[in-house]
Symmetry: C2
Subunit: 635 residues, 2 copies
């Protein structure tokens, strides 16, 4: 096990630094300081509003008390849903990553207290789940399909690894190791066959192995991933138990479960050579991203079972698109990216991060969406909390860990995955320290300037890989003011290999015209409609910007020119898209009718010239309620 | 209570003959003999295949045994779902109406046996529900929201009334009266407030009152309808308990529940003057038929909660569109029609009967749909039975009772609601006997000839009201070969008032061109698409008729002429629609993509000229599996 000081340096979210099959190596959260105007204010709200208010919710709803009951520090009955422990663990993880970035003394104190309550609740034999205490102790491991015991354990393990990497303390990590060993004493080769009905522990165990180098945790992860498809989890698609993972080719069932499961598959691929698993994950990835993903990157179309639908089944108003499923897709994308550095993974990650995930939290940081629909009549609003509160602490831990997702390294050099103004101090695999300074006003502007810090030890040859987003045509790159050769292709990492000197500067220009996006003809609900986008952001229209015009009547004439302009007064500062378009309400012949003979009547309702204002999708439902739409009609 | 011989004559499905507020009076099933080529073969299959096979299912799944257990005639444990009694009752009702049409001696014997088992299971105090026996007896009426006790009782009552009206026997009616009295001893003014979580008993009780003239059953129905909206049923939209019925204006929640509830509301309106209730039902009817009904007449868009969606939420592939909900809509429409004789009610009834309901049963009569989607990839097929088997006996009882829905009478004369070749012998309210003979090849042809029978007692003045379907432009009517005046308006009952003589003949010509139907612009999934229809039938395309062409690629060019031709060899004999249209598959640029920038690329995949064959929607999934679509693309 690494000592504390190493751990402090290596505050990696996913630590593939010693993984034999991972091309990319992580960068510590501590090594990256975000200074940009987009994410850093959100991380500050996360620290100052979101996490303290979630702490209050955890106390008020009895979630932390449940640990006090389990340890005997308090008397009473378990409160809430049987998987409520996981919310506490996700909060611990979020606060750990926040503390890793420094400057949150009150949160750090609360973190220590909560960890104390968790540690005190662990049983002698390593078991820890506050629902299965006292009377229910005899029900432990009797219904692993439905009762989320390993799911909760997985979140504890992830929280413990985060806490260890953020602080160097092994206080919670020791709890996690004992809990993993307890699970391994029940399940495994020659013991019980089975896996949790809700995947989560699998990726947690891989990370526990990476944090401790104790191979038994990795072995248990391999066993649990392999246990699926043998009927031990009920045999249903809902649980991804309908077939062994290597034989799965369509993403089905509960979306969060599926995303966490395939994330674990990718985690194993970083450790093991497993072409069959890789081929399966490639098929599943293709199926997800080319058939079953919203334009916002959200996944999981169906309310029923919080599940993936069929190919092209992506209803807008009735989208489920759970925040947690979007986060799961980002996790999976990140893990796939580590395996080989293909830009398409980072593109999906960026898509869901800026759109389908970020919509899950209010601008003021204390209200949340569970589903993230692409159309709504104005009745759907964010809530301060949920009985099943998986999403709020999940988005909190993702925002807290965001600096860890910007950069990567490989044997060849530096990789820039996401663009944000930041300062970074990292180590190339060669061991050399590299200091970067990135200036950017992303996603509002596509100009990015990366300076190699002055204290680079010596001139040294390595590559800088810049992600050219799939949405970006016409990107230009200059090094020290001179064009860096061939025009970069969209959807690739553009490699610049040279001997870098302190003071070298790379300038990247990503044109951000307003784009109109169409969807595949088989996605029938979007037929004849377009979505507006600019840079990584998908846009929507809200009633509040359109007076008496019903946004369902807005029609974008072909070739309409829309303007992008930054409005600092609006929604915390956003670039809006505006222009003159057409509004055409249903003709009077539709009065009192749902169907009518086509063809005969040709009367069209008079078109009106109206002003369109489109806002970033993530920012909707932060003003007065009204109808919202992502996909607009065309003329 | 009427004596047996009166009851034999009055085999009315819904008996408004003495209802003070009903304009229309029913016609006995016994009085109408269907001889046409469409419904009568289906009723024969219903009698010879469907009902005997359902009897076997009821035996094999323990549904009838549950009654034997309850009566002590057999030992063992309750089998199946807690509301399984209702399936037996619906079967009794279906067989009763079948027996009423004569000629089913084996079914009649089985009917007697099953009624014997049911009667023997009734408790001393009138209680009857085989789930709540022995150990569970103490749980009776403890969870009326979820446990369907009154729902089952309602089906028993409906079955008993049907059996009484069909046979004159009071054997099951006495069971029903005692059960109703038992319910009335628990619930009612000054007793317990509450109603069943699944409406059904309300309309049953009104009919029990009509069969017995015992007003306490009607009082109980009024009480139960009025109990909703007071929170006694949980307060949810799912149960239509969110508001009192008079304050409801949008159809929400579980679709079957809602349809049965509003049917009961209309039943009460036939007995009571209640302008508030009438206004509410009018609003609910408008909301259902102009916002939330499929073009097939099916209702209930959502899988989640088997429920109505929002306005214009009508997904095609993911349509729930339960067979029972369609039947419920037909029930409601029929009851509204009795109140005032507006053709729109009969239009909706016809729409759902020929399309959204009839699709629920296979052509061979022993396989069923529960949901009735409007698009499918070929994986969805009819099943021989279901664990929750509400639909199979529901469609059986509707088909069995069909002759009762063709005609009506009022003080003014005769009403013809549905067109089918038939012979009818009925009594006008004036008391005079009227013999009719109707020749028609409906729905394949729009020519209908109605002859007044030769044994009409004397010349007498009365009106014949002919329904001119809302879909029918250009209808023509002739009496004894001469035009009957003004052209009839679509969507009305056309009144012909005269002194009718024996031998008079009315000829009705309903043009049946192929129609292309479009849907309201806010029904986004159908944007740019049309459905094909002819007469009352909605059509669909199936893969099996289109070789290697993906039916999703079919595009109907504007102005395409389609031909209708009867194919006796196909699907039991159907009129197909055919013509040359275009197939255009997604251009190669869509390979591996779900979204792309619009505008730039204009490449269209080459169009191919292909042969379209559309079949009636009700007949889909009766050949080899393949993709089906109702709504076709246009060019």
């Amino acid at each position: 096990m690494p000592n504390g000081s190493d751990a402090r340096f290596g505050a990696f979210v996913v630590d593939t630094s010693a993984s034999p099959r991972a091309r990319l190596k992580p960068v510590s959260i501590r090594s990256v300081k975000l200074v940009d105007g987009f994410w850093q204010p959100r991380r500050r709200i996360n620290r100052d509003v979101t996490l303290p208010s979630q702490h209050r919710q955890l106390e008020e709803t009895g979630r932390i008390d449940n640990f006090r009951l389990a340890s005997g520090r308090k008397r009473g009955k378990f409160q809430g849903i049987f998987f409520n422990d996981s919310d506490v663990y996700k909060w611990i993880e979020a606060v750990s990553w926040t503390v890793a970035s420094g400057g949150a003394p009150e949160l750090a104190r609360a973190l220590d207290d909560v960890i104390g309550e968790v540690a005190a609740a662990q049983q002698e034999d390593g078991y820890l789940n506050t629902y299965f205490m006292f009377d229910r102790a005899k029900e432990r491991w009797t219904n692993i399909r439905d009762m989320h015991e390993m799911y909760c354990a997985g979140h504890l393990i992830q929280a413990a690894v985060a806490h260890f990497r953020a602080t160097g303390s092994t206080r919670l990590l020791d709890v996690a190791r004992r809990l993993s060993d307890h699970v391994g004493s029940v399940f495994g080769p020659g013991k019980r066959l089975g896996a949790c009905g809700h995947e989560e522990i699998e990726m947690a165990l891989v990370e526990l192995y990476r944090a401790t180098r104790e191979t038994r945790h990795l072995d248990l992860a391999r066993f649990l991933v392999g246990a699926r498809g043998k009927g031990a989890v009920g045999g249903s698609e809902y649980h991804q138990d309908h077939a062994p993972i290597r034989e799965q080719d369509k993403v089905v069932g509960h979306a969060v479960r599926a995303m966490y499961f395939y994330s674990a598959g990718a985690d194993l691929l970083a450790e093991d050579s497993d072409p069959g698993l890789r081929a399966a994950l490639d098929k599943l990835w293709d199926n997800t991203t080319t058939r079953r993903m919203y334009v916002t990157g959200a996944v999981g179309a169906r309310y029923e079972g919080e599940a993936f639908g069929r190919d092209y089944e992506l209803p807008n108003e009735r989208a489920y698109a759970e925040t947690c499923a979007g986060i799961g897709l980002a996790y999976w994308a990140w893990r796939m990216l580590q395996l080989e550095g293909r830009a398409e993974y980072a593109d999906v990650m960026e898509r869901v991060l800026y759109n389908g995930i970020l919509s899950g939290i209010s601008l003021d940081g204390d209200k949340y969406f569970y589903p993230n629909p692409l159309e709504n009549d104005g009745t759907y609003r964010r809530e301060p909390w949920f009985g099943c509160a998986c999403c709020p602490p999940n988005i909190a831990r993702l925002l807290a860990s965001l600096p860890g997702y910007l950069y990567g390294t490989s044997a060849e050099g530096l990789w820039v995955h996401l663009y944000a103004a930041s300062a970074a101090e990292l180590r190339l695999p060669s061991g050399e320290r590299l200091v970067l300074s990135v200036k950017a006003d992303y996603p509002w502007d596509g100009f990015v300037r990366i300076e190699i810090g002055r204290d680079l030890a010596e001139t040294t040859e390595f590559s800088v890989f810049l992600r050219i987003p799939g949405w970006c045509a016409g990107a230009r790159i200059a090094v020290n003011g001179s064009s860096a050769g061939a025009d970069p292709r969209p959807g690739t990492y553009h490699e610049i290999r040279r001997i870098w000197r302190a003071g070298d500067a790379v300038e990247l220009r990503l044109p951000m015209p307003v784009r109109t996006i169409e969807s595949h003809p088989y996605l029938t609900e979007n037929a004849g409609r377009v979505a507006l986008a600019r840079g990584p952001l998908v846009y929507c229209v809200e009633a509040v910007d359109h007076g008496f015009v019903d946004v369902r009547d807005l029609k974008l004439p072909r070739g309409t020119k829309l303007e992008a302009s930054f409005r600092s007064d609006l929604l915390g500062g956003v670039t809006v898209l505006s222009g003159r378009i057409t509004s055409r309400s249903p003709d009077p012949g539709w009065q009192g009718r749902l169907y009518r003979d086509a063809g005969g009547r040709e009367e069209k309702c008079a078109a009106r010239d109206v002003a369109l204002v489109a806002i970033p999708y993530y920012s909707w439902a932060n003003r007065e309620p009204g109808r919202m739409r992502v996909w607009l009609g065309t003329e």
